[in-house]
C-alpha cells in the first residue's frame, strides 16, 4: 500500500512541464491563428468577414472536449494516428485562436476611426498604419484580456487528461489510483494550478486597472 508522500507529489510536479508545454504551444499557435483572424475580421472583404465570423461562432459554440475528441479521431479516417499531445495541442490551438481572435478584433476596433484616417492622410500604407499606429495602441488595450485568457488556457489543458495525455490532472489521477488517496492527490493538483494561475490573474487585474487609471487615451 502506497501513501501520498513526497515521491507522489514529485511525480505530479514532474508532469507540470507537460501542462506548461501544452499551454505554450496553445498560446503561440492560437496567437498566430487569432492574429490572422482578427486582421481578416477588420479587412474590407465581405467574404473574409463572413468566413471568419462563421469559424469563430462555431468554435466558440463547441465544447473543447468535443473538439479534442474530433481532433483525436479525425486523422484516423485518413489512416494517421495522432498522439494525444498532438491532438490536444491542435484542439487547444483551434479553440484559443477563435477566442483570441475575438479579443484582438475588439481591441483593433476600439481604436477610433480618425486614427486610420489621419494615417491615411499622412500617406501611410494600410500595413504601415497597422504596424506603427494601430497595433501599438491595440496591444495595450488587449493585454489584460489576453493574460486573462492565458489563465483560461492553462485550465483548459486539464481536458487533455481525458484523451489520456499525462499532464498534472492525469498525473493526479494516476497517483490517486495508486494510493487510494484521491482527496490529497487532487488537492495537490488544484494547488499547482492555483500557483500557476493566481499570479497571472493578478497581473491581468493590475493591467486592467492601469488602463482605467490612465483613462481612455486610445
Amino acid at each position: 500500500m502506497r501513501y501520498f508522500g513526497l515521491p507522489e507529489f514529485l511525480f505530479i510536479i514532474r508532469a507540470l512541464i507537460w501542462t506548461i508545454t501544452l499551454t505554450i504551444i496553445a498560446f503561440f499557435g492560437g496567437g498566430i491563428v487569432g492574429a490572422a483572424l482578427a486582421l481578416m475580421r477588420i479587412s474590407k472583404s465581405k467574404l473574409m468577414q463572413h468566413v471568419t465570423s462563421a469559424y469563430m461562432q462555431v468554435i466558440q459554440g463547441l465544447p473543447l472536449l468535443v473538439l479534442m475528441f474530433l481532433c483525436y479521431y479525425t486523422p484516423s479516417l485518413f489512416g494517421y494516428q495522432l498522439s494525444a499531445i498532438t491532438a490536444a495541442a491542435i484542439a487547444l490551438t483551434i479553440n484559443t485562436g477563435a477566442f483570441l481572435g475575438a479579443i484582438w478584433e475588439s481591441a483593433l476596433r476600439a481604436i477610433p476611426r480618425p486614427q486610420w484616417e489621419s494615417a491615411d492622410a499622412l500617406a501611410l500604407t494600410p500595413l504601415k498604419t497597422l504596424r506603427y499606429v494601430i497595433a501599438p495602441q491595440a496591444v495595450k488595450l488587449a493585454l489584460p484580456s489576453t493574460v486573462g485568457f492565458l489563465v483560461q488556457i492553462i485550465k483548459q489543458t486539464s481536458l487533455a487528461s481525458i484523451i489520456g495525455f499525462v499532464e498534472i490532472t492525469r498525473a493526479g489521477q494516476l497517483v490517486s489510483n495508486a494510493t487510494f488517496e484521491p482527496l490529497k492527490s487532487f488537492l495537490a493538483v488544484a494547488a499547482l494550478y492555483f500557483i500557476l494561475c493566481f499570479p497571472l490573474t493578478q497581473i491581468s487585474l493590475w493591467l486592467e486597472g492601469r488602463i482605467e487609471r490612465r483613462g481612455s487615451r486610445a
Binding site: 461562432q57 462555431v58 466558440q60 459554440g61 463547441l62 465544447p63 473543447l64 472536449l65 468535443v66 473538439l67 475528441f69 474530433l70 479521431y73 479525425t74 479516417l77 485518413f78 489563465v151 485550465k155 483548459q156 486539464s158 481536458l159 487528461s161 481525458i162 490532472t169 493526479g172 489521477q173 490517486s176 488517496e181 484521491p182 482527496l183 490529497k184 492527490s185 487532487f186 488537492l187 493538483v189 488544484a190 494550478y193 492555483f194 494561475c197 493566481f198 490573474t201
Partner: protein
C-alpha cells in the same frame, strides 16, 4: 479516404442521445441559475463592511477562478469520499458546476456593483431606505443590467463546459456519445452529430438569455426598440 460514413446506426442510440440532451439542459439550467444566485450573494457579501465574510468570499472566488472545473469535479466526486462524503456522479457534477459558475458570476457582478456611483447609495440612505432596500431597488438593478452581456457569455461557456462531467460517468450528451462510440466504433459520426447539437444549443442559449434580458431590463429594451 476509404471510410464510409454511416449515420443509420446512430438511430439505435436516439433514446440515449435524447436523455443525454435533457441532462445537458438540466445541468446547464441548474449550473446557470444556481451559480447566478450564489454569485450575486457572494458579490453582495464582498461589498459589505465586515472583513471576515469578505475574505472568505475572496478566497472562494479565487479558488474557483484559478483551478480547472475538471479538477473541481474530481475533488468533489473522487476526493470527498475520503472524508466520508459520498455523492452520486450527478450530484457531484451539479455541485461543482454551481460552485464554479458562482465564482465567476460573483466577480462579474461585483464589478457591476462597484461601478454604481457612491452618491446613489448616499441618496438612497438619505431617503431612509434600509440597506436591503437600497441593494434591491437602487444598487442591483443597474449593476446587473450593466454586466448582463458578460453574464450571458459566462452562462454559455458554462453550458459548454457541462460536457466534461462525462469524465465522471454522467450520461449527458457527451457521456452518451462516449458510450455510443465505444459500443459502435462509429466515433466520427457520433462526435459530428453532437458537435452540431452543441453549436445549436449555444445559439439557442444565447438567443433565449438575450431575450430574457430584454424582458427583464426595461431600460435596454427601450434603447433598442423604443417605448413599447
Amino acid at each position: 479516404m476509404d471510410y464510409t460514413f454511416q449515420f443509420g446506426i446512430l438511430m439505435n442510440y436516439l433514446p440515449q442521445f435524447v436523455s443525454g440532451f435533457w441532462l445537458t439542459l438540466l445541468l446547464s439550467f441548474i449550473g446557470i441559475f444556481g451559480g447566478f444566485a450564489l454569485g450575486v450573494c457572494c458579490a453582495v457579501t464582498s461589498t459589505l463592511p465586515w472583513k471576515i465574510p469578505r475574505a472568505l468570499v475572496r478566497c472562494y472566488v479565487e479558488a474557483m477562478r484559478n483551478t480547472p472545473l475538471l479538477v473541481q469535479v474530481f475533488i468533489i466526486f473522487f476526493g470527498l469520499p475520503n472524508i466520508g462524503v459520498r455523492l452520486s456522479p450527478l450530484t457531484s457534477a451539479l455541485i461543482a458546476l454551481v460552485l464554479n459558475n458562482g465564482g465567476y458570476i460573483a466577480e462579474i457582478v461585483r464589478s457591476g456593483i462597484q461601478s454604481t456611483h457612491r452618491s446613489q447609495v448616499e441618496a438612497a440612505e438619505s431617503l431612509g431606505l434600509t440597506y436591503g432596500q437600497t441593494l434591491r431597488l437602487v444598487v442591483l438593478p443597474p449593476a446587473l443590467e450593466k454586466v448582463f452581456t458578460p453574464i450571458v457569455s459566462q452562462s454559455v461557456l458554462l453550458m459548454l463546459s457541462t460536457s466534461l462531467v462525462a469524465a465522471i460517468g454522467v450520461e449527458d450528451l457527451t457521456g452518451a456519445a462516449m458510450i455510443a462510440s465505444s459500443e459502435t466504433f462509429r466515433t466520427m459520426e457520433i462526435y459530428f452529430v453532437i458537435a452540431i447539437a452543441y453549436v445549436a444549443l449555444n445559439f439557442l442559449f444565447r438567443a433565449v438569455l438575450n431575450f430574457a434580458g430584454l424582458l427583464i431590463f426595461t431600460r435596454s429594451r427601450r434603447r433598442l426598440l423604443g417605448r413599447i
